[in-house]
């Protein structure tokens, strides 16, 4: 079982755990945490797909010239972007969770009761 399949299996497992967490958790902060785990899993998958056994890091130094077999640099550039996107989504998600808590007084997703419905009738938006 070479190193690459271990990376791919770990990435796949993390993605599965993230999706499982989104489907089953009822606490909104935990749903955001599982989205974070899903995002870490996908980042791992992308880098693992660019991995080359025994490849050198894609930086040209005095010892390493470009003739040396290098790891694929493109997925690394993509994952750099994806990590910052994950941070942006987490920040906005957390603010929305705070507002959800301030208005619904609970971190639970299932808050839709009649108390909720009569709230909606009163408020008119726009």
């Amino acid at each position: 079982m070479n190193v690459l399949t271990v990376f791919l299996i770990t990435a796949g497992a993390l993605m599965a755990i993230g999706v499982f967490g989104i489907l089953t958790r009822s606490n909104i902060i935990k749903i955001l945490l599982s989205i974070n785990i899903l995002q870490t899993g996908v980042n791992l998958l992308l880098i693992a797909l660019g991995y080359r056994d025994g490849g050198a890091a894609p930086i040209i130094t005095s010892q390493v010239s470009s003739a040396v077999a290098m790891v694929d640099p493109l997925p690394q550039a993509l994952v750099l972007t994806s990590i910052v996107i994950a941070f942006g989504t987490t920040a906005v998600g957390l603010v929305i969770c705070l507002n959800y808590y301030m208005t619904h007084k609970s971190l639970d997703v299932h808050t839709f009761g009649n108390e909720e419905r009569e709230h909606q009738q009163k408020e008119v938006v726009d």
């Binding site: 999706v19 894609p58 930086i59 470009s66 694929d72 640099p73 906005v92 507002n99």
Partner: protein, 256 residues
């Protein structure tokens, strides 16, 4: 308030995810059928091979060595050359993602009612400035050496932002959103102007119109340095802006 059906939901979720993992796993790994499957693109055929040998047009020279110059892209760190030069528009989009999330946080955050918090002890107030000094030096080193060593605008900016948030936690500085918004838009405007300059001199947006430097020198890739500095400032300001909004009592709203 345990949900009555929680165990049922867990089992159902487990079944769904299990089936999905099985289907996707077999689909990605079965090589019985002809056709290119996962990870089957040979490294030399990939687009990234052209970035490694730094010549998009076919050229005789297939090897880039340390200290040589005259290539189309002169930064030693190939990932930086991709992020800044070859796929610069992605990075512009990237900076906009942070810009959008920092604006969304400032738009949506509510006024915070702080509980009784303990004033920072003497140890904190004396040690944090020292720690921050090192943090800022490390952050700016990572930004400025983005094209030589691993790092660049994003990690450097994040490290500086963590220092700024640490200072806000300890010293409760008066947080003025306008100053941050100004810095953000100036840095963003800087990136756009760099792009338009590329359009003026190099007839395409975000073109690196600087002379090719020597690979490995500090001042080899001016374009990477300039763009990464602007990105570093913008990332640092935006992340500390997001952090401030979570910490501060004042609602950023009425200030603007």
């Amino acid at each position: 308030m345990k949900n009555r059906y929680q165990s049922l939901i867990d089992i159902a979720g487990l079944i769904i995810v299990g089936i999905a993992v099985y289907l996707v796993g077999t689909a990605l790994t079965d090589t019985s059928v002809a056709g290119k499957g996962m990870n089957s693109a040979d490294f030399k055929q990939r687009v990234s091979y052209r970035y490694v040998i730094k010549s998009v047009e076919p050229s005789a020279k297939m090897e880039v060595k340390w200290g040589e110059s005259g290539y189309e892209e002169s930064s030693a760190n190939i990932v930086t050359s991709i992020v800044v030069n070859y796929r610069g528009f992605d990075t512009l989009g990237e900076v906009l993602v942070l810009f959008a999330s920092s604006a969304a946080v400032s738009l949506l955050i509510l006024k915070r009612v702080p509980k009784k918090t303990f004033p920072p002890t003497q140890i904190m107030t004396s040690s944090v400035p020292l720690v921050n000094l090192l943090v800022f030096i490390l952050g700016s080193f990572i930004i400025l050496h983005g094209h030589l060593t691993p790092g660049g605008g994003f990690p450097g900016g994040a490290i500086i932002a963590s220092g700024v948030i640490l200072m806000a936690l300890v010293f409760k500085k008066a947080f003025r959103p306008q100053m941050y918004l100004m810095l953000e838009s100036i840095a963003g405007m800087g990136i756009l102007i760099a792009g338009l300059l590329g359009l003026m001199y190099g007839e395409s947006f975000l073109k690196d119109f600087f002379p090719a430097g020597q690979i490995g020198e500090l001042f080899s890739s001016y374009f990477a340095m300039i763009l990464y500095t602007l990105i570093g400032i913008k990332v640092a300001v935006e992340i500390s802006n997001i952090g401030f909004h979570f910490i501060s009592e004042s609602k950023g709203e009425e200030a603007v």
